[in-house]
Every structure is written in structure tokens, then in C-alpha cells.
């Protein structure tokens, strides 16, 4: 490759890790920069998250006021308020909705460009998505949380371990969310138009991830099933439960470990799906 003097970093098994991380970093930065250009949309989005924060927070506080002992499903009022506001901030960090890059490119045939690159397609989408999450963590996460802090009493973590654990949990949530979105988008390889699966995803993901109400409001058997059998609680509910210290430390770590297992399963799934898709992909056009 150096015959032409080109210095193209690649990710492949026989290249040093440093090159791989450089490529990954460059892709992640490009994701960050892309979202940094949509300034108006960032402001508009943060405003909307804040309005929904007020709506959901008041509803859950009313539930707490009516529940016996004032602790519905074991959450205190400050914990519920934090659940809502941090949840509104995290919503765009994990980006449950609105990502159709892959399915759009599959439909238009542009995805073929991904296959020509020396980077695995899953990586070439994952890295910019982490960059996007980094942008959101600063510009979309902080505004609603600050508004929540001003207007409501929020719960602050009591144990120092909670903070790093929350950070890990958020990163895992982003990876899980990305993998799910990748898989949903990848149905376009077979269906040509992923609109149906995407609508299903948009509809189901919010409620199953714990955006509309904490999943522990559900009957125990259902909540446990969701946690173990699906990655969905790991997208939002787990990081939030970790932050507001709903559970003792051991269970907190257990929940994050469960997230990690799901992240591994889902990423492997993405690789497998991508490989099978490449075998059948026919790019149209002359």
C-alpha cells in the first residue's frame, strides 16, 4: 500500500492497533462535527426535550403523591424527577429515533461505497454514531438536566462509584441502541424499504426502554422478562436506574453487566447480518 506513498489507515487484523484507533477516532470526530453543524436543530430539540420533561415529571410526581407511602415501585419523588429529566437528556444521546442513514443508503444503492472502504461497515457506522453521542452528551443532555435542576428537586448520587458506573452504562446504552438501529435499518437489504420496521421500532422502543414510565411500574414478571430477554431496558432504563441508585451496588453492577452482554450479542448480530446481506446484495443501476 505504501508503494504509492499513500498513508491510508485501515482496520484489518494484520495492522497495528494504533492505526485502527486513529481511523476510529477520525470517524468519531466526523460524526461529532456533522451534528455540530445543525445548530438550529440542536436548540429546537433541546427545547422540545425540556417541554416533555415538564409533562412527564408532573405526571410521575402526581403518581408519587397518590401512591401509598409516596414511593411508587420503590422510587422516591426526587428519584422520579431525576429519572424524567435525565431521561429526556439521554434520549438524544442514545438516539432512539430518527436514524435512517443506513436504510436510505441501502435503498439508493450508495451503501456500495461502504463495501469498498477498508473499514468494516459496522465500524464505519458505529464510530460516527459514538461521535454523534458525544455531541449530544454536551449539547442535548445538559440543557434539560439544568432546567430540571432549576425547577425541581433532583436526586444526587450518594455513592461515588455511581458516577463512573453511570458513564459506562451510558456508553453501553449508546452501543446497544446503535446496534438495534443498525439491525432495524439492515432489514432494508431484504425489504428494500425499511419504513415498516422503522415505524415499529419508533413505536415500541420508547415504551420498552422506559421513556414513558419506569419499567418497574409493570408487573414484576414482565419487567424481569424485558430485562433479561430483550436489550430494550438497557437503552434508557438501566443507566437511569444506576444514576438514581434504585438498587444496591451489587445489583447496579449486575444490570450494567447485563447491558454489556447484550451489547456484545447485538454487535455480533450486526456483523452476521451484514455478512449475509453482502452475499445477497444486488446494487441496481447501470
Amino acid at each position: 500500500m505504501n508503494v504509492l506513498g499513500a498513508r491510508v489507515p485501515t482496520i484489518s487484523p494484520d495492522q497495528p492497533i494504533r492505526v485502527a484507533t486513529t481511523t476510529f477516532g477520525a470517524l468519531a470526530r466526523s460524526g461529532f462535527r456533522r451534528y455540530a453543524t445543525y445548530r438550529q436543530a440542536t436548540i429546537a430539540g433541546a427545547f422540545t426535550n425540556t417541554v416533555f420533561g415538564f409533562l412527564r415529571c408532573y405526571v410521575l410526581l402526581a403518581v408519587a403523591a397518590g401512591a401509598s407511602g409516596g414511593r411508587p415501585a420503590g422510587y422516591g419523588t426526587e428519584q422520579l424527577a431525576t429519572f424524567v429529566w435525565v431521561g429526556q437528556g439521554l434520549l438524544t444521546v442514545v438516539a432512539l429515533w430518527g436514524w435512517t442513514d443506513l436504510s436510505d443508503r441501502i435503498r439508493s444503492g450508495d451503501v456500495v461505497a461502504e463495501l469498498l472502504r477498508p473499514v468494516h461497515p459496522v465500524i464505519s457506522y458505529l464510530a460516527p454514531d459514538l461521535g454523534r453521542a458525544g455531541h449530544a452528551a454536551v449539547f442535548r443532555f445538559i440543557p434539560p438536566v439544568v432546567v430540571g435542576l432549576i425547577f425541581f428537586d433532583l436526586y444526587l448520587p450518594q455513592r461515588w462509584q455511581t458516577v463512573p458506573l453511570f458513564a459506562v452504562s451510558v456508553v453501553l446504552a449508546v452501543v446497544c441502541s446503535f446496534s438495534c438501529r443498525f439491525l432495524v435499518n439492515a432489514t432494508a437489504y431484504w425489504l428494500h424499504d425499511a419504513r415498516g420496521p422503522l415505524i415499529f421500532w419508533t413505536l415500541g422502543s420508547g415504551v420498552l426502554a422506559g421513556l414513558y414510565f419506569p419499567l418497574r411500574f409493570l408487573p414484576d414478571w414482565l419487567a424481569v422478562t424485558l430485562w433479561v430477554a430483550t436489550p430494550m431496558p438497557g437503552l434508557l432504563q438501566t443507566p437511569l436506574d444506576v444514576l438514581i441508585e434504585r438498587d444496591p451496588p451489587a445489583l447496579q453492577i449486575g444490570l450494567v453487566a447485563l447491558q454489556a452482554v447484550w451489547a456484545a450479542i447485538l454487535l455480533t448480530g450486526c456483523r452476521t447480518v451484514q455478512r449475509r446481506a453482502e452475499r445477497k446484495l444486488v446494487v441496481q443501476g447501470g
Partner: protein, 248 residues
């Protein structure tokens, strides 16, 4: 209609959307008997009135929220040069038949809500049960048009509109007593969302408003809807007039 599978999926998910709204309310009420001083039965009536109004508005004028796409892409120019009203064309560019079933489900929920609350029927109440969804829909329609019109001045404003359309739907799905302070004053009375489902539901139930509004407040939704529609029409016209298209 040539994409049949896609149509089926979208129909199912549209029904699912309304079902989820109702389901969320039911789950919330599993944790407690009273939310904001109201029981699940009463809340079902409110969420169903709100759903009927919202779905009807979404079915008729919901398409307008794609205006920002048309403004950005310049597609709006093609609409404006035709000898038909711009609004009518935008609405008919894609008639969402799939949203029809959603309306059916909302009406079924409303019927259940009326049934479980043992509403005592009088003529004003019978008129109200038809009028509240219709005028609620006019009101939501005005909010749709209003928030879409923002795109004339601010192309990337899409999400702000959602705060009032979908946010408004969520707001009206619960008793207004749930919300507190200036936020309630602003949304319920300032913007008028309190008159879409909450006040009509009180009138149907024959309950006095815990917040002290008189009983006739349940019947003012036509007035609120007309004011909102008028305001939306003015903003829409102003937007169309100052639209400068894209490009050089």
C-alpha cells in the same frame, strides 16, 4: 396502495400508537389509585377525548408537518405556482388512509370511557360528546398549522413544533390537576389545551372543577378552537407571503 405489506405495517403501528397512549395511562394507574385526584375510569374518558381530537386532526392536517421538508427542498414552489390553495394541496399530497383505523380505535375507547363512567345523558352532554372531539381536532389542527408555519422563518424548527403537537396530546391525556404552577397556567389556559379534554370530561362526568373553573368551561371548546384556528390562519398567510424559496 401498491405497497401492500407496507400499508399493513403502517396500519398496525398506527393502531398501536393510540393503544400505547391508553396503555401508558393504565400502567401509570397501576402504581396508584388516584392521579391528580382522578380515578382510572375518569382518566380513560380524558385520554379518549384527547385521542379522538388528536387523531382526527392528525388524519386531516397532520401532513402539514412536512412543510419544513418542502421549504428546504424547494418543493413548495411547485405547489405555489398551481392555481389551487397551497394548504389544500399540501394536505392532499398524501391522504393517510392508514390513520383511519386509529380514529376507529380512539372512538371505541371513548365509548368505553363513557360506558364505565355511567354518564347521565342530557342534550347538552350529547352535543358535547360529539363537539369536544371535533372542536378539539380543530384546535389541534390549528396547532399543527401553527407549528408547521414556523418553518417559513426557521427551517430547522421541526422539533419545536413537536413540543406543542405531540406535547399537547400528552398534556391533554392527563387531568390538568396533575401539572403545577406556571406550566399548567401556560399550557391549560394560556394556550388552551385544558379545554380539549379535561373541561369537557368534567362536564360529562358532572364533576366540579377542583381548580375552580365554572361548569360552563366544558362547553367553551368551540370558542377556543376558533380563536386558535384564526391565529393559525394569520400566521400561515404571513408565512406564505414572506416565503422566498431556496436558491439564488
Amino acid at each position: 396502495m401498491s405497497y401492500r405489506a407496507s400499508f399493513v405495517v403502517e396500519t398496525i403501528t398506527n393502531i398501536g400508537g393510540t393503544a400505547l397512549d391508553v396503555l401508558s395511562v393504565i400502567v401509570i394507574f397501576q402504581a396508584t389509585k388516584f392521579v391528580g385526584g382522578f380515578t382510572l375510569r375518569e382518566a380513560i374518558l380524558m385520554v379518549s377525548l384527547s385521542s379522538c381530537a388528536f387523531v382526527l386532526a392528525d388524519f386531516t392536517v397532520g401532513n402539514i408537518d412536512r412543510l419544513s421538508t418542502y421549504v428546504r427542498a424547494g418543493t413548495l414552489d411547485a405547489v405555489l405556482v398551481r392555481p389551487l390553495g397551497a394548504m389544500a394541496q399540501l394536505l392532499l399530497m398524501d391522504l393517510p388512509v392508514r390513520k383511519m383505523l386509529r380514529l376507529v380505535l380512539a372512538i371505541v375507547t371513548l365509548a368505553i370511557g363513557l360506558h364505565v363512567n355511567h354518564v347521565v345523558w342530557t342534550l347538552p352532554r350529547a352535543l358535547l360528546v360529539v363537539g369536544a372531539p371535533v372542536f378539539g381536532a380543530v384546535f389541534f389542527g390549528a396547532i399543527f398549522v401553527f407549528s408547521a408555519s414556523l418553518a417559513f422563518w426557521w427551517v430547522d424548527s421541526g422539533q419545536i413544533g413537536n413540543a406543542f403537537t405531540y406535547g399537547g396530546r400528552d398534556f391533554t391525556a392527563y387531568p390538568v390537576t396533575v401539572y403545577g404552577g406556571w406550566f399548567r397556567s401556560l399550557f391549560a389556559y394560556g394556550l388552551g389545551f385544558g379545554f380539549v379534554a379535561y373541561q369537557p370530561a368534567l362536564a360529562l362526568l358532572g364533576r366540579a372543577d377542583p381548580l375552580g373553573l365554572p361548569a360552563w368551561a366544558g362547553f367553551v371548546s368551540p370558542l377556543v378552537a376558533l380563536v386558535a384556528a384564526g391565529a393559525a390562519a394569520i400566521v400561515w398567510r404571513a408565512g406564505i407571503r414572506q416565503y422566498r424559496s431556496t436558491g439564488s
